[in-house]
């Protein structure tokens, strides 16, 4: 059983990322459940997806029990830490999307160091991914989400093969597939010890 908690901001392609994980699991012949937030969350709000691989019934991940937190945005990484424990792997994009509340309500956007400290205090490991740059270098600047899926796949925690992910990407992405696979590879290499 692998419990993955995906967070970010509306418009970052998190649901697509979760569908790729889900399709990869189905291709591998495993049971998988995904849940996603819709509706109000589409308008630039925080977005949460869960992905659970294994013989589970509930799609939800209670506090302190995520195996992986895959965050597409730095502030949302911090917000997701309620799901973390000392056995949680945290992978976060360096991307910052400053919410309006920082402009209007005297909230402060946390520094990268603040995030790293909090993750270090609560979790097992922390990997920062410069997803936007890796995606841009691959020729698909909008595909940070694919880089993040690559970083997740590279850890091997999911128990799925690289080929399952690559086929799942082809099932979900029609335009610029080769470039997207390159973006995936860029993320994969960051977390994969063998590559």
């Amino acid at each position: 059983m692998v419990d993955m908690y995906l967070v970010g901001v509306g418009g970052q392609g998190i649901i697509t990322a979760s569908k790729i994980i889900g399709d990869a699991a189905v291709l591998a012949g495993k049971n998988v459940l995904l849940s996603e937030t819709h509706g109000m969350a589409q308008r630039g709000g925080s977005v949460i997806c869960t992905a659970r691989i294994g013989e589970v019934h509930s799609p939800l991940i209670p506090d302190g029990s995520a195996d992986v937190i895959l965050s597409f945005e730095l502030l949302e990484t911090l917000r997701a830490l309620c799901k973390a424990s000392r056995s949680t792997t945290v992978i976060s994009s360096t991307e910052r999307i400053v919410p309006l509340s920082v402009s209007t309500q005297k909230f402060k956007y946390p520094e990268k160091e603040d995030v790293a400290r909090e993750v270090g205090r609560t979790s097992k490991s922390f990997t920062l991914v410069d997803a936007a740059n890796i995606a841009a270098e691959a020729g698909v600047p909008m595909s940070s989400n694919i880089v993040m899926v690559g970083a997740l796949a590279g850890t091997g925690i999911t128990g799925l093969e690289r080929s399952h992910f690559e086929r799942a990407i082809a099932m979900n992405i029609q335009r610029k597939l080769a470039e997207n696979l390159l973006a995936f590879s860029g993320g994969f290499g960051l977390t994969n010890r063998r590559s």
């Binding site: 697509t16 998988v32 019934h57 502030l75 917000r79 509340s101 402009s103 080769a178 696979l181």
Partner: protein, 642 residues
Amino acid sequence: MVAEERACPLADRSKRYFLYGPNHFEDMERILEAPPGSKVLLLGNEAIARGALEAGIAIGTTYPGTPASEIGDALARVAKDAGIYFEYSTNEMVAAEFAMGAAASSVRAMVSMKHVGLNVAADALMTFAYTGTRGGFVLVTADDPSCHSSQNEQDNRYYALLGGIPLLEPSSPQECYDMTKQAFEISEKLELPVIVRTTTRISHVRGPVTVGKIIEGLKKKEFIKDPTRFVTVPAVARVRHKVLLQRLKEAEVLAEDSPLNRTEKVNGGGTLGIITSSAAYNYAMDAAEELKIPADVLKLGFSHPVPTEKVSRFLRDHRTVVVVEELEPILERAVRAIAQHRSIQTKIVGKDDGAFPRLYEFDQAIVAAGLNMAMGASPGSQEAQPVQAENLPVRPPVLCAGCPHSATYFAVNKATNKKAIFASDIGCYTLGIAPPYNAADFLVCMGSSVGSAGGLAKVNDQPVIAFIGDSTFFHAGIPGLINAVHNGHRFLLMILDNRTTAMTGHQPHPGSDRGPSCCDITAVSIEEVVKGCGVKWLKVVDPYEIKTTTETVKEALQEPGVSVIIARRECALIAKRDEKGAISKKHYIDQEVCKKCRTCVDRFQCPAISSVDKVQTIDDDLCAGCGVCAQVCPYKAIKEAK
């Protein structure tokens, strides 16, 4: 691999459709083209659509609403290729009535809606249970425990009890698919409408679904007249109510034998029994496994009428039975009634004992706490918590960059100096509740802006402005407007016409000129409807023109009766995707000219404009090029990029 050259067989179809989802080709392939026996990852809602296609529906209808929207959206995309008729109806009542007319003529029909949509359709449904149906009639309703995107968390299982209607409750995408198919069988066997009730965590969960064969259902039929059944004058209704109660007895027999009501063993089974349904079943299974509690689980997929014999046997076989269900204690009260009636002494534990909350959606941790209490292992129950902001910068949903509603609200605030009462309605524009606009003071349901505005105006001296979206106006705003004209109310109605049903995923509405794949549609003019309601003062503005909009609002508020302004500008997301944003020039803030007055962040709201360390800037990627901020800035510091 040359990916972009891979021919997408469905690519050319996109232009005819109204939907803009990035992945709708793939989803369409899945729902329509997944071969029999294959296992595909489907959203619960998509699985319902596939199940309906395999049941051979002739008719699908809906009014969009989260978390039910994807059922209709899936059917809308595939309707033409699947050879079915699908429509986005004006509201849930019309959607249900349309499907009833078809089903009374012996074809199969499905109507889907969010939970509060059934409040609108209930008038028709309560009496359709009396007439019954000839062809299978399935109403899908999606509840929203925790109000993820709704104004309440009502439990729609009560409608099954209220109307005397068989109820199916799937727990997974696979069951969404299975039960939708079975619902049509049950409906035809009993000649009754059947409710399939999901929740957010059923409709919006993806999982593997093994699909079967899509069949071509009966599409045309000759209506056989039978007014003594289908025309519910009192003399007919009295007879049909009796028939309904007889059919419900037959339904209970079906529920007794239904494989949808089954017993499972967790950790080898035991003297603890759990009775559960819907999403709560999932949490109960995971919690019992996690806690290593040996238990028998009676899962009720066909939960109304409750199978009395099956529940009695289950009670007698267990020393303690825990009832696990979200929201209202409906199963629990039914189980307690059965125990009392049959003099069964089994200890029954549920919400009435405080083991489980009556609020919000559950998860496995909440159910584990309840099971622990039932086992006597732990004293207290864990309260379910609403989604809470921590001590971090909050990130609520906001109006998008370039959103015409944002411009409208800025203009209205300028015109009224915020000294007006704002009756709001359901849609993206409800987000105007937040600062800096504070443009929502009262809201209960679809259409309530227009209806409540009259009452607010009658007993207050402040001016009253009602805001309603184009789709919501067609849905429920028109009777309120007629009422206001007829009874001489005084308020300004602003119809925020962004040419789509934006919040739920850009579905069309009666004013749209693009519809589902199967339909030839006619756009209904909002102006003509407003005039037809008897409104004498009507103006149309482009909300991107702040000055004109502001002046028009001031002028409208001088009117002694009902005045209407249509603020018309296409949703910025659609304009962006169609690459026809009106002004479409990126803007920037000239820091040399900027006086740091913060008007652009304190009185206007745009996700592209941020203020960090007292410096306001525009994010070039996010800027929609609407140019509204340039009109907002008092110092002309915001300029078009070269």
